[in-house]
Symmetry: C2
Subunit: 247 residues, 2 copies
């Protein structure tokens, strides 16, 4: 049986036009945008108005243009929909069931993004029309296969959280250890021991006291910490140049 394959370059007898005529498949990017308001973990959604999913929350996404890289597309979508540049962004995986989109064959490449609520609500942002933060605990149905995608994104986030300090992308510059612990508990879903948590985090040498204290709380104020930039640069430099941690 003769081989002919324009992808791998065996026995070429085709050119650009062949490829474009092959492509009855559209490619989209969908982003699971996680936000944290010091209370709950939320996802940015919009309301779908396409049958049969009308009214259900949907992830933020768009088709990929012919002249932009996948990562660029994700970045563009985030910029368009949240107004923020330089979010933390990481590819998860691609979903390509034939019938996943009612209007035709659309393969979607998914990303997850982390947003500080303080950035999202700051000046200069232009949130998508009708976009809405929904707490993960409140989501039980979504349009398309987006609930599945969201769950995969959450798994990825959980794994990642234990590997490197991406949590910094969800917290303000100054934060307290109890706040950090609450973030962990919210994402991982199980309560943690206060003393062991502090011991562990401090031993990583990734944060340092800022000298400041909490204000306007009706109880003993917590010390505020911030990320140790030197350590960060040394061991987790990919978290500085924000977008796209490859590997």
């Amino acid at each position: 049986m003769e081989e002919k394959n324009i992808i791998t370059g065996e026995n070429i007898n085709s050119h650009l036009k062949d490829i474009e005529e092959h492509s009855k498949i559209a490619v989209s990017v969908d982003c699971v945008i996680f936000g944290y308001d010091m209370e709950e973990l939320k996802v940015l959604t919009i309301s779908c108005n396409m049958d049969p999913y009308k009214g259900l929350p949907s992830l933020i996404g768009d088709l990929v243009n012919e002249y932009e890289d996948l990562d660029q597309a994700a970045k563009r979508i985030l910029k368009e929909r949240t107004g923020i540049d330089n979010l933390y962004l990481e590819q998860i995986k691609s979903f390509g069931k034939v019938d996943r989109h009612p209007l035709g064959r659309v393969i979607t490449v998914t990303y997850f993004a982390l947003v500080k609520k303080e950035d999202y609500t700051s000046n200069g942002t232009r949130p998508a029309v009708n976009s809405k933060w929904i707490a993960l605990s409140q989501i039980n149905e979504m349009a398309f296969d987006h609930l599945n995608i969201t769950n995969v994104a959450l798994d990825t986030l959980r794994k990642k959280l234990l590997e490197c300090p991406i949590w910094m992308k969800l917290l303000p510059v100054d934060f307290s250890l109890p706040e950090l612990q609450h973030l962990f508990e919210t994402i991982i879903g199980i309560p943690l021991d206060k003393r062991n948590f502090r011991k562990k985090i401090l031993s990583l040498d990734i944060i340092q006291e800022s000298g400041k204290k909490q204000k306007d709380v009706p109880h003993r104020p917590a010390n505020l910490y911030r990320v140790n930039q030197k350590k960060l640069k040394k061991e987790y430099s990919f978290l500085l140049k924000n977008p796209f941690h490859h590997g």
Copy 2:
């Protein structure tokens, strides 16, 4: 600014034809097929004959058809190129730089697969024309972005190897502990302590003595083990139904 988005279903004013006209982008699947001959870790490649990569090794891949899921496409390609059904198969990630393919815009979704050499060389297989196993240590250049893809696949394999017993997909039914250790050392790239390795593996309760011994070796023969199917079913069932471990 008005929103209009056929992906998420805001203000729909388009239908199937719109999507297909949008798609100037082709989608391919490329597989990093790992094989192990009890000596080295190898990758199945074919020779590219497309400029400017003529002569370089290329991964096994093909365009995705309009009517097949991504996973089905990967499975089809593996079947076509190795003749084997039911390989272990797992999606890695997608690569979509605009200029990654000289013939046009092609986004590729990549998978890695694990093959026992004994399966590959058994009857009934119909390997791709000109396909060739190349030891990872011998690869320093590949066509397209395939070297990058291969490296990402190797990273994924290394991580996975420490999480679950996918190594069984690279070994014969009966294998010795020294053989298993050599496989680990080959993939991870660092030598391991014999006693600690055995202690660790045996403590997992995932393998059991087969009763047999090595034959035809010019030294003390090793005991042969095989995978404990009950334990496997209980804790790693996704390794049984071979293809596609999601999550």
